[in-house]
Amino acid sequence: MSAPFKFVSTNRRVREDRRFVVGRGNYVADIRRDGTLHVAIVPSAHPAARIVAIDAAAALAMPGVHDVVTGAELAAAVEAMMNGLDTPQVRRYSLAVGQTRYSGEWVAAVAADSRAIAEDAAEQIEVAYQPLPHVIDVEQALAPSSPLVHPAHGTNVLLDKSFVWGEVDRHFAQAPRQLSFRVTWGRNSTVPIETFGVLAAWDPWHEMLDVWASIQMPKYAEQIARALRLPANAVRVHYDVDVGGSYGVKRGIKHTVLVGYLARKLGRPVRLIEDRLDNMRSGDAHGPERIFDVAVAFDDAGIVKSMKMRALDNVGAYAGRAPFQLGKPIGAIVGPYRIESVQYRALSVMTNKAAQEAVRGFGQSPTNYAIETAIDRVAAALGLDRLEVRRRNFIRREEFPYLIPSGTRYDSGDYHTVVDKVLAHADWPALERERDRLRATGMLAGIGIAACLEPSGGNSSFEPLLNEKNTTTTWMDSCRIMIDGLGHVTVTIHTTSSGQGHETLAATVVGEVLEIDPDRIRVVRPDSLASLPSNSPVGSRMAVMLGGAAFHAAGKLRRKLIAIAAHRLGVAADALSYAGGAIADRAGQRLEWADLVTIAHRNFHLMPPGFEPGLEVTHVEQVPTGHALPTPDGRVQMYPCHSFEFHLVLVAIDPELGRTELRRYLIGHDCGTVINPHIVKGMTLGGIAHGIGAALMEEFVYSEDGQMMSQSFMDYLLPSAHEVPKVEIVHHCTPSPFTVLGQKGSGESGYLGAPAAVSSAINDAVSPLGIVFDKLPIRLTAISDAVAAARDRNRDR
């Protein structure tokens, strides 16, 4: 199916908006159950310490306090949380067992009649600690003499895997030029305004654990069941809970295991809603913290032939999903460029910091920052224009599908055209003149450029790539459609909403295929026991996967309707035409929608032989192109589709104060067929805002003695409307050949290139002074200090 569409790509309202503008979202904290007990946490004050004793007597004696649970009790009753790597000695539970491994780690939990009482009681719990040596810096953690975060594991290294794709050594030996550099991506995260929360209730007569959570987590019900030693069909997750933003991080396994355990133990519903302090220091939702050491081999024309990259990630005290965030970027390791060979080393190293979680892009944004820095450095080394170097290295439109050295085939793209469109829209010469004019007034000014890919469609191929024992190749999503006895259409989708408009997406696609108005299609989210398999909106996958599932399910339904009509009219199916839900043959015989519904639901004697009564279909969609395990030399098709974005940013910097203003921001965006323009625009603008925060102001700062300093929004700064400029979006569409409508994903758009673009702009502004910034975030105070130092140096010469 392709353009022109009837409903796809039209500016339909996003139906989810309606409940949010009247304040009727169904967030986890809104859900009330009689008798609910509230949990508060006792956090560790030490980056590493042995737990000597926990005295909860005073707390338990307080009125309204029902229970205090410690790690020792919990570890005896539940399974350790799953770890996708083969590192059995790195064990993780909701509460620290025997030892704490980061400041803020959960040591004990109180269940009480209210959160306030639980916090009162938590303060009364006395924990005796014996502090242990700790390590915060990732390079120190690699040293043989480093304290070990998990002594039984024998090292702080969780993962150290190297890949060589192509003739890297030969290319480097033969290249006329090479350069190397280091850039550092500071620890930040996407920090939703709603914290993570979970409510669980155990019914011993039904033997059912009901769970409501602010969750965005594949296989959540299964992981809870496994940890609590329950059958998976004894856990019922309610997907009609609205999630107040997630952007990857709301995985909540440790919260849910704790709450589920308490619910069963105490026979009462139990609720844990993180407060902001819980969330920031110990929600375990930090993002990548990564040092990239990069070398590129190139020629005098700026063509980059080969790249070596070592990505060293400070994963914190536990594994979580974080190590896989080193694997996913392998699927776009050369960015949009025709680099022929790559050597990549993924190092995931533990320190006594909070654990990481999956963050929007799953490691792609930091990697893009490193790749784009490489291209800018090549241009600078040769005195060539940065745009020109990119043009020379871009994969060309006619080369798609394009196989990159690490085994992924990029589906489609036209990078040169997107760049041309953006430059035309921006009036590139005017942009340069504006930069020069700003410079003439005494400001520092620069233009930043970033070109990068958004791999989309999701897949878990990084799991078997980084852990041979993991043989997962299935990463499905699903859709069910029912036409009821009165002819109304209801669609079910099988995941929570976190703001991406999936109800609207599903209704639009089903409406397109069935040729009926999407606004007449109802979309509901059944609970996990009534649901088909899904893997959550991760990996920018839902347009591709839910879109695909909805499309195929609707197609099945359409074919069933045609078959019913064919049988009723006594003609072959291919002699019929379907239009707007009515079916006609060439002779003018016609069956309306209502007729078909009546036959299916009430007139079994008129149904084709072998057909089931009614009009229900399901479809479970596997990832397009995602069928195989990695090859022995570590090549695999990572994700099926590749959207493209090109950022252009004009920045003006006050040289004394360091205040940085984004004066103009343009993005060229190509995500193939756009199913709903409002939704894609929202993703892009929101992603850019996240990226601006990562580039300029967001960081989880740890002191040398292992204390997390950015505990609240007073210190962890989020961009307000003042900090995000008006963004001009320039569209292009190269459909994917692998998806049903040509759509690609856009859930991570903007975020994947904005940090690279802002960094590029600031570096362009300060390069006349000989300053280079190679670490994010770039704070205004650092800019001011660097400019002052450079001016002192220049004066001293």
Binding site: A116, D120, E656, R659, M697, S720, T781, S784, D785, A788
Partner: protein, 294 residues
């Protein structure tokens, strides 16, 4: 983040409020609560009792006393920001108020509350110090007036004793000359607490010569700091750009910078010089436009 338990009283008079404070060493005044409540939510502040003075009529109002504008301590910041009297007679305060917190905190936060909190980066305290204002303090022993210089003792520390209550703030009014003001601030984000702020008020005579000049720097030192040297250097001059820059830089060089993790000492000094010069320039230009069509 739920506060620890406390009692709450709303006495009918200032006298009753002070009596309650005197009777309980852990009782604390609440007016706007915009800084106190978050501290309580984080359990960094744990008063036994909150004495709510926000509605006391004695503590409301903006009065023109001739040589000063007197603002009742419990006057909301938004009320002061929208006051024509403040705009006309205490223009430096009017210039500073838009920088105080956010619109949503200015509807609740009070002028007296900000002053009593004594954050080194606070804008109202900076204006008060720059203008050599004073604070009316009701204490168990009686009322007294404390000069701003004596009131702000250290970061978050004032001369107010336990059991006392700020009742009014006096902002001196400059009576002669063509007056102009400038307020500049640098913060990590537009509406954050200031890393460094500068407040300047200038009076020019008919020929454009400076007859009075006050410059204050906030956020750089333990308390808001009036840069007397800059004022002295510029009085009598025509306040050329170079004279302004030199005066601001000399003043910044003499500051006793208080270290903090948010910015280097060198940054604060540099920002003080830059913002000081800009505030003085803005004040001079505004004064020069006096009597001219807007």
């Amino acid at each position: 983040m739920k506060a620890a338990p406390f009692d709450y009283v709303r006495p009918a008079t200032v006298e009753a409020a002070c009596a309650r404070l005197a009777a309980d060493a852990d009782a604390v005044i609440i007016a706007g609560g915009q800084t106190l409540v978050p501290m309580m939510a984080m359990r960094l502040a744990r008063p036994s009792c909150l004495v709510d003075i926000a509605r006391l009529a004695e503590l409301q109002g903006i009065r023109d006393d001739g040589d000063a504008i007197v603002i009742g301590a419990a006057t909301r910041q938004v009320t002061a920001a929208e006051s024509a009297t403040v705009a006309a007679k205490a223009p430096l305060l009017a210039a500073a108020l838009p920088f105080v917190g956010h619109a949503a905190t200015r509807t609740r936060g009070t002028v007296g509350g900000s002053v009593a909190n004594a954050d080194p980066a606070a804008e109202i305290a900076l204006v008060l110090t720059t203008l050599r204002g004073s604070i009316m303090l009701r204490e168990p022993a009686g009322s007294r007036r404390v000069a701003a210089d004596a009131f702000f003792v250290g970061p978050m520390v004032t001369a107010a004793t336990q059991g006392s209550c700020v009742t009014a703030i006096h902002f001196p009014v400059w009576q002669t000359g063509r007056i102009g003001v400038g307020f500049e601030e640098i913060s990590a984000r537009r509406s954050d607490f200031a890393l460094v702020a500068a407040a300047a008020q200038v009076a020019l005579d008919a020929s454009g010569r400076c007859t009075a000049c006050a410059l204050g720097i906030g956020g750089a030192c333990a308390v808001p700091c009036r840069v007397d040297s800059a004022g002295e250097a510029l009085v009598g001059s025509v306040m050329s750009d170079k004279e302004i820059i030199d005066a601001a830089r000399a003043g910044a060089d003499a500051l006793d910078i208080m270290s903090s993790p948010h910015a280097s000492d060198a940054y604060r000094r540099r920002a003080a010089a830059t913002l000081g010069a800009r505030a003085l320039t803005r004040a001079r230009d505004q004064a020069a436009r006096h009597g001219l069509p807007a």
